[in-house]
């Protein structure tokens, strides 16, 4: 019988999850080691907690089974380069699932990454931040502002200095 942990969201909803799912969060793992099985998470709303649990459930299932020969070869290949790019998820099926998972609007993504950061779920944090970065890549400054509802608060002089300093980046190809 798998041990169950109870998570309570900010708006009071309770979620029972298997221990190995909950332990994707390092924070929860530490707390359960000390004492309680009931963990209040006042800063995490139900909607976000559901999504986080879904991610953890999927990744716990994958982590608990030994890697198939093809995915373990991929894992070995990616770890041979000691340049620290973010570790890619080696299983292509899981990667596909992850890509579907992050097809959300910016606001939802931010909610998830903040919760995942709070709960210390490193892979989820990385996944979402990578997605956010992808939404910034290749865009001009004005497009980035529009995407993320940012306003230009530079003085004309500051803006001029910035463009001059990295003029190579602002020339159109």
């Amino acid at each position: 019988m798998a041990k169950m942990i109870k998570l309570v969201s900010g708006d009071g909803a309770e979620f029972e999850v298997e221990e190995e799912v909950a332990f994707q969060s390092k924070i929860i793992k530490d707390i359960v080691a000390d004492a309680d099985d009931v963990i209040p998470l006042p800063t995490v709303s139900s909607k976000v907690l559901i999504q986080v649990i879904e991610y953890c459930r999927k990744h716990a299932a994958v982590n608990s089974f030994p890697l198939s020969p093809s995915s373990s070869a991929a894992a070995a290949a990616s770890s041979s380069s000691s340049i620290s790019y973010s570790k890619p998820v080696s299983d292509p099926a899981l990667r596909a699932w992850d890509n579907e998972f992050v097809k959300l609007n910016n606001s939802s993504l931010f909610d998830i990454v903040i919760a995942a950061n709070y709960l210390d779920i490193e892979e989820l944090v990385d996944l979402v931040l990578e997605t956010v970065a992808d939404r910034i890549k290749g865009k001009q400054a004005q497009e980035i502002r529009r995407q993320f509802n940012i306003e230009n608060d530079f003085t004309p002089e500051e803006e001029e200095a910035l463009r001059r300093e990295n003029s190579w980046a602002f020339q159109n190809n």
């Binding site: 707390i31 790019y85 909610d111 950061n117 709070y118 990578e130 306003e151």
Partner: protein
């Protein structure tokens, strides 16, 4: 009571005006501050207790604590820039009434004018007529210009302050997460992100963002100064550096005819770098032989962790400069030099 040991910050009582996000109207004048993403501000507006509460993530970046417009006009003019920390915010006595300056009334009346362009010009002309001396008239006109500029500058400064505040509240990530996002960007996108607003600009100066510097381009654009600045930004974090001119490896699949000199025949098929067919480096490159000097300064601080160095078609690079650079980087694993 569940406490997250990891996120404990110093307990602080902040006095500030909580501002309605949509209208920027003050809705209350005292609340305990809490650093949290934007969505939580409404929750805190109703709290009026002045008990000390923990502010997690205070060290994650001051701009994640919600800053609002100060109400007293006597507070010294400072940009409500996300990077400023206001430890004395609680020191200002809550009961001190601001000195109501006559200017406030004047300004209010001025801003209430229904048709300022017309009415101001008419009034100015009338005042000029009433002055008899030429010198007085000159002074009047000069004064009008000065007042006009002053108001324009003040309004622009306010607009920028409000823009900064808006950014603070609408960008939900604390600076450590923002920096992590930026560290995943290619160098050019990083520059664009830095140019969007002061908050992003500040995050973009963090060394983590410069771990992998890729300044390659299809045409020469980058000069030595840019390279050294970026290497400096990276400090000890620099892991990968790519410079020079090459055709975008992702853009074209068709084979490009070789057009560079035959001194360096690139026929070796077994090597991966032979597949990157760089363009003829006949264009004057703005990178010279000293472009890698920054790696060697400061006891090779920047070169320390460098693992990957790719140089493409840097005309003016010569072997001795290259050797100096290489000797600064003790731990290189991946070196690619094309068109030397």
């Amino acid at each position: 009571m569940f406490t997250n040991e990891r996120a404990i910050g110093r307990p602080v009582v902040l006095t500030f005006a909580v501002v309605d996000r949509d209208q920027f109207r003050p809705v209350s004048t005292r609340a305990t501050g809490r650093s949290s993403p934007a969505g939580a501000t409404e929750a805190w507006a109703s709290e009026s207790s002045s008990t000390i509460s923990r502010i997690p993530n205070l060290d994650a970046g001051p701009y994640s604590v919600f800053r609002a417009a100060v109400m007293e006009p006597l507070v010294p003019k400072r940009r409500l820039c996300p990077s400023a920390v206001y430890p004395t915010a609680s020191a200002s006595p809550p009961t001190a009434r601001p000195v109501v300056v006559a200017t406030d009334h004047i300004l209010e009346k001025l801003l209430a004018l229904p048709d300022p362009f017309v009415s101001l010009e008419v009034s100015l002309e009338r005042l000029l007529d009433s002055r008899l001396l030429e010198m007085e008239k000159d002074q009047l006109v000069d004064g009008a210009m000065e007042a006009g500029s002053a108001l324009l500058e003040a309004a622009r400064r306010s607009a920028r302050r409000r823009a900064s505040m808006h950014n603070c509240s609408s960008w939900p990530l604390a600076s450590d997460l923002t920096i992590k996002v930026f560290s995943k960007l290619d160098t050019q996108s990083l520059c664009h992100a830095a140019a969007t607003c002061s908050m992003f600009n500040k995050c973009a100066t963090d060394p983590m963002c410069y771990e992998n510097i890729d300044l390659t381009a299809e045409v020469p654009k980058v000069n030595n100064t840019v390279v050294s600045k970026m290497i400096q930004h990276a400090g000890k974090n620099l892991q990968s550096l790519k410079l020079g001119i090459r055709s975008n490896p992702a853009s074209t699949t068709e084979f490009r005819p070789l057009s560079y000199s035959t001194i360096h025949p690139m026929e070796a098929s077994g090597l991966s770098w032979s597949q990157k067919r760089p363009r003829q480096g006949r264009e004057t490159s703005l990178l010279t032989r000293s472009c890698l000097l920054a790696l060697s300064v400061d006891g090779s601080a920047a070169g320390t962790l460098l693992r990957r160095l790719h140089l493409y078609n840097i005309d003016k690079m010569d072997t001795s400069a290259l050797c100096t650079a290489l000797s600064a980087c003790q731990f290189l694993l991946d070196v690619e030099v094309v068109g030397l």
